[in-house]
């Protein structure tokens, strides 16, 4: 089972001794990148490229786009590294770039005028559960790996980007609610509200595949 990688703790660890507070390893690398140290930047890439790919893929649902976004995100981060002041985690800052790039790609690909965090979220559809059937035990084991991946992909694809992004950052990538809010420039209550709707909508849609067949109900 894959466990989501947890980025490093955002704050330097203050130790109750006379020692200097520890500087977050990312901040040391960022400081080196600012002096033109490409090896330090490569370390940051190696550390976060998989998460950035996963986030981009989940938002765009397109592998080629996600590969391009990984490149664009890191190159942009390198170009703008002087703007990173360390007020947030480096990873959260990076995620913010990746989300913007992903939404831009979606906009281009769908030739839509607006694909934003606010798209299609003004609806209560899916917020109120309608399917109350319980699921089979270990429902994912009723499908082979490829079938299950297709079901999960199709299901998450059906969510509006604003919900999908919050779900991906919070539940798949493992950012905290506050970090997700920071990365998306949303308020904490907005993140919570979108997360609830995303979770309930996904649950409702997955129920079609995972529910106990009606003939087998107790």
């Amino acid at each position: 089972m894959r466990q989501p990688e947890r980025p490093h703790s955002p704050m330097p660890t203050a130790v109750n001794t006379e020692e200097e507070p520890q500087v977050h390893p990312d901040l040391e690398l960022v400081a080196r990148v600012k002096t033109g140290d490409l090896a330090a930047f490569e370390k940051l890439m190696r550390q976060y490229e998989r998460q950035i790919f996963r986030i981009s893929l989940q938002i765009t649902q397109n592998r080629e786009d996600a590969e391009d976004i990984v490149q664009d995100t890191f190159f942009k981060a390198f170009q703008k590294i002087d703007q990173f002041q360390g007020n947030s985690k480096f990873y959260t800052w990076l995620v913010r770039i990746a989300v913007n790039e992903s939404l831009m790609r979606l906009r281009k690909r769908k030739a839509q005028k607006t694909v934003s965090m606010d798209e299609e979220i003004q609806t209560d559809e899916g917020s109120i559960p309608r399917d109350f059937a319980d699921w089979m035990p270990n429902p994912e084991q009723n499908y082979n790996q490829a079938e299950l991946a297709e079901i999960l992909r199709r299901t998450i694809q059906g969510l509006p980007p604003g919900f999908r992004t919050v779900f991906v950052l919070r539940d798949i990538d493992g950012l905290s609610t506050e970090e997700t809010a920071q990365a998306l420039k949303l308020s904490v209550p907005a993140v919570k509200s979108r997360l609830l709707r995303a979770r309930l909508q996904l649950r409702e849609r997955l129920s079609r595949y995972f529910r106990v067949p009606s003939g087998e109900l107790a």
């Binding site: 996963r54 559960p129 109350f132 991946a149 979770r199 997955l206």
Partner: protein, 86 residues
């Protein structure tokens, strides 16, 4: 507590951000409401299934290619900057 109130607190409940009093109210509601119990359990499963299933893992060779492409662009940018400064 009714089902709507239960749902409104579901996210905080999952994230263990509910005060003890509210938590026991939610659990009390669940004890008497099968629909909310099913909703909670299947929502929890939804999150776990997505968290544990890697939908698409890129091989290291592709990460390597992407990394090298980015680093080349970065090196070229640094070179241009140096030329400008000199």
């Amino acid at each position: 507590m009714n089902c709507t109130e239960f749902l409104a607190n579901l996210t905080d409940y999952f994230d263990a951000q509910t005060a003890t009093a509210l938590r026991s109210e939610l659990e009390q509601h669940m004890a008497g409401c099968e629909h909310c119990t099913v909703t909670l359990n299947t929502t929890r499963q939804t999150i776990e299934i997505y968290r544990n299933k890697e939908l698409f893992e890129l091989p290291e060779s592709i990460h390597e290619r992407l990394r090298q492409a980015v680093l080349s662009k970065c090196a070229a940018k640094m070179k241009r900057q140096k030329l400008k400064q000199s």
